[in-house]
């Protein structure tokens, strides 16, 4: 085991520098002959439904990976794309009627919405985990239901502070403040110089949830405790709400209607100078840099940072996990497992991740050695996403209840209620507590 791991780490470093198609195909045939743990059923073919990529080069790399798998095993894999928001209804229907694509690649705790309908993939995850230095703790939480793995936590989308260096310097800060108080000061100063910050407070499942959970957790407020008892109504939560209100007031007006797409646009148009997002804004700016001088300037001037640490003194970050699950109705469970194994093998995984330009972060230790993390210092903040992130339930379990709380925007609405001045912190907490208690009822 350790021999293969070393060998692959060696080759992958080279592969990372240059993705050569022929090389990949040759290697994958060898892989199918020697390393493949599950032999696909005769005549197997698979359908995989995934969310629509953020960056074209990621999709290209992914399709290359899929083609290599087909070449090596003879299993056809049809890749279907749906926009981020549409994956869940499709998976829900498939789980409910027991028919549809064999694999779904979705967001957050998707597999925990219907754990009984997910294939048990413990053997794949144990194999990959032990081969590549172990899973990040959050990956284990997301992937496991009880003691068995119901999904492969393929990757994370790091949600980071995106900011313009020139703006924070103009506001009188030499670097991004690392604590919540300093961060608030920065936002106020940015407002003062007319280059405001702004984060999504609409029903935005990605960016919105990321920052509201950071605000809550960094102040030591939590929805539930270790035993899934609702503890949202607390002084810590109240502090978080007051803090969020202060932040909100310093931002550009209108963030209460923003969803995941608004901040990208606003940042590139220089309407906001600090926001939270994946690294896709940077990627978009860089892509257009050749034809547009302003984009080149933005790409040059922007950077990413970790979320500030608050009174709870621990990182309170919430990165999006992308779990891949096999449906229990598939007639080809071994082919599914073989594909999962293939996809997570470092020599396939690394070039693909590189294509994603750092908006996918690895879930296992071996990924720390990926060469592309050294390529661009502005992307380094995305590297430890799997280790810095908390999971959907934070202290509590990641299960269908945590998934429901997230889908129902309980925390987000609580903050939005206070920020927009519709309710007092007490009232908002009470409401959230009531709703959470219902979801977490025995």
């Amino acid at each position: 085991m350790s021999f293969t791991r070393r060998r692959f780490l060696g080759t992958s470093a080279m592969a990372g520098a240059m993705i050569a198609g022929g090389d990949l195909l040759g290697r994958s045939r060898a892989w199918a002959a020697t390393e493949m743990k599950w032999t696909p059923e005769d005549g197997a073919s698979l359908q995989l439904l995934r969310w629509k990529r953020f960056v074209q080069s990621e999709e290209d790399a992914f399709l290359k990976l899929v083609a290599a798998f087909t070449d090596a095993t003879g299993v056809q894999v049809e890749v279907l794309n749906e926009s981020l928001d549409d994956v869940q209804p499709k998976a829900s229907v498939a789980a409910n009627v027991g028919s549809g694509p064999d694999m779904f690649w979705g967001l957050y705790s998707l597999p925990h919405l219907f754990p009984e309908k997910c294939m048990d993939v413990s053997d794949v995850c144990d194999h990959i985990g032990s081969k590549y230095g172990g899973w990040a703790p959050s990956a284990e939480t997301y992937g496991k239901s009880g003691d068995s793995w119901i999904a492969v936590p393929v990757a994370y989308n790091a949600n980071l502070i995106n900011y313009r260096k020139s703006a924070i310097e103009e506001a009188g800060f030499s670097e991004m403040p690392g604590d919540t108080e300093g961060f608030l000061e920065l936002c106020k100063a940015l407002q003062g110089i007319g280059k405001p910050a702004g984060m999504a407070l609409g029903h935005a499942s990605g960016d919105g949830n990321a920052w509201v959970h950071w605000a809550l957790w960094s102040h030591g407020g939590y929805l539930v405790d270790e035993n899934d008892q609702v503890i949202i109504n607390s002084p810590e939560t109240e502090a978080a709400l007051n803090y969020a209100k202060a932040l909100f007031d310093s931002w550009i007006p209108g963030t209460a209607s923003w969803n995941d797409a608004f901040n990208n646009k606003a940042f590139l148009a220089e309407e906001v100078w600090l926001t939270n997002n994946g690294v896709s804004i940077y990627a978009a700016a860089k892509r257009q840099a050749g034809e547009d001088a302003k984009m080149a300037e933005i790409a040059e001037d922007m950077d990413h940072a970790f979320w500030p640490i608050g009174p709870s003194s621990t990182p309170a970050e919430f990165h999006i996990c992308y779990p891949l699950l096999g449906m229990s109705y598939t007639p080809y469970p071994n082919a599914v497992k073989a594909f999962m194994q293939f996809m997570m093998e470092v020599e396939n995984y690394e070039p693909w991740c590189e294509g994603a330009v750092a908006y996918l972060s690895h879930p296992y230790k071996a990924g720390d050695d990926f060469a592309f993390w050294d390529a661009d210092p502005k992307l380094v903040a995305a590297k430890p996403a799997a280790w810095r992130t908390s999971t959907a339930g934070h202290l509590g379990s990641v299960g269908e209840r945590a998934a429901a709380a997230l889908a129902d925007f309980i925390v987000l609405d609580m903050l939005a209620n206070v920020c927009t001045g519709r309710q007092t912190p007490e009232g908002a907490m009470k409401l959230a507590e009531r709703q959470a208690k219902r979801l977490y009822r025995a």
């Binding site: 919405l113 209460a256 129902d408 219902r438 979801l439």
Partner: protein, 339 residues
């Protein structure tokens, strides 16, 4: 319409009189076969509705009495879902306190949305129909062009509206700034403030709904015989009187059908809200349909989502009853009296 009936009345009477002896037998034959005939003609529609609707409808209602989740049949829990949403009235009567405030907010939003949007759609639709009914050049082209908002797929026009109502790049804000209605640096918060967001989504709904209402009412207007107007002009009627006493009564049956459906479709609207606001800001634009989707599909609580859907039934039923027993039926009986 009335005129058609009348002129045909005469023609019919003439012919009926001519063939009076055969009439009885034909009619009695018809009487005996009537129920069977009716069944044959109903068959295609009946098959569709039973095969594709009866079961899901029944299942939907059943789900609302269970704690079903995605991919897992639930157990019967009686009225628990309803007690949670609407409130357990053994605990008091302040439903906004004992029930789910978000649910009640969505009920309020839905009613507001339906009433305001339908009323305005009706007003503008009727007005536009009256305008289009006048003689003008390029009549056909103008009439077809008016239908455009109805033709563009809702989800795509909603995306366009989303862009128009953007906080930072709204073309509306820009135009208001250009004409000096608002300050140069002021950004209208179209979808970010509760009141504004409600107005914005209602506007988008009206925009989409007016053309079909206008065109259908226009079709109705075409049937009003010009001779009636001519007669009333000779009698010295004002324009308002002509509308009130000729146009409006003759149009009532079509108005009833169109408005009933407009109300039903507005009440169950989903796409527009889902694209524009997802029910935000802070649930102030959440409709019952969007809330049920959020709870059932995104949150996985099928039972509760189904209960929200089922809670829409009484409202829809009321709208149907109103149309059926109020407007529609009265008019039809009226028409039947003519036969």
């Amino acid at each position: 319409m009335a005129d058609v009936t009348r002129s045909e009345d005469h023609a019919g009477q003439k012919r009926t009189a001519k063939s009076a002896p055969k009439e009885m037998s034909a009619w009695s034959q018809l009487q005996t076969n009537r129920n069977w005939l009716g069944m044959w003609f109903m068959l295609p529609a009946g098959l569709f509705l039973i095969l594709f609707l009866a079961y899901p409808l029944g299942l939907g209602v059943w789900l609302s009495f269970t704690d079903a989740r995605l991919g897992r049949a639930g157990e019967f829990i009686g009225l628990e879902n309803y007690a949670w949403l609407i409130g357990d009235f053994t605990e008091g009567w302040k439903f906004w306190e004992i029930g789910d405030p978000v649910f009640w907010l969505s009920v309020f939003n839905t009613l507001l949305y339906t009433v305001v949007a339908s009323a305005i759609k009706f007003g503008i639709g009727l007005y536009l129909a009256l305008l289009l009914n006048k003689h003008m050049p390029f009549k056909a082209i103008i009439r077809a062009v008016v239908l455009i908002p109805f033709i563009v797929p809702t989800v795509l026009s909603a995306i366009a509206f989303w862009w128009i109502f953007d906080t930072q790049f709204s073309i509306l804000t820009w135009m208001l700034q250009e004409v000096g209605a608002i300050a140069e640096d002021y950004q209208v918060n179209w979808l970010g403030e509760p009141l504004m967001a409600r107005a914005s989504v209602i506007f988008a709904n009206i925009w989409r709904g007016v053309p079909f209402i206008a065109i259908t009412l226009l079709a109705g207007l075409q049937t009003v015989p010009p001779s009636l107007y001519e007669a009333s002009v000779i009698d010295g009627a004002t324009r308002w009187q002509m509308f009130r006493y000729i146009t409006y009564p003759l149009l009532t049956p079509i108005i009833a059908v169109v408005m009933t459906f407009s109300v039903l479709f507005t009440f169950t609207d989903f796409q527009l809200i889902w694209v524009l606001t997802r029910g935000g800001p802070v649930n102030t634009t959440h409709l019952m349909a969007t809330l049920s989707y959020q709870r059932a599909i995104l949150g996985g609580n099928l039972g509760e989502g189904a209960a929200i859907s089922t809670a829409m039934i009484p409202f829809l039923l009321a709208a149907i009853m109103f149309s059926w027993f109020g407007l529609q039926r009265r008019k039809w009986q009226h028409g039947e009296a003519n036969d």
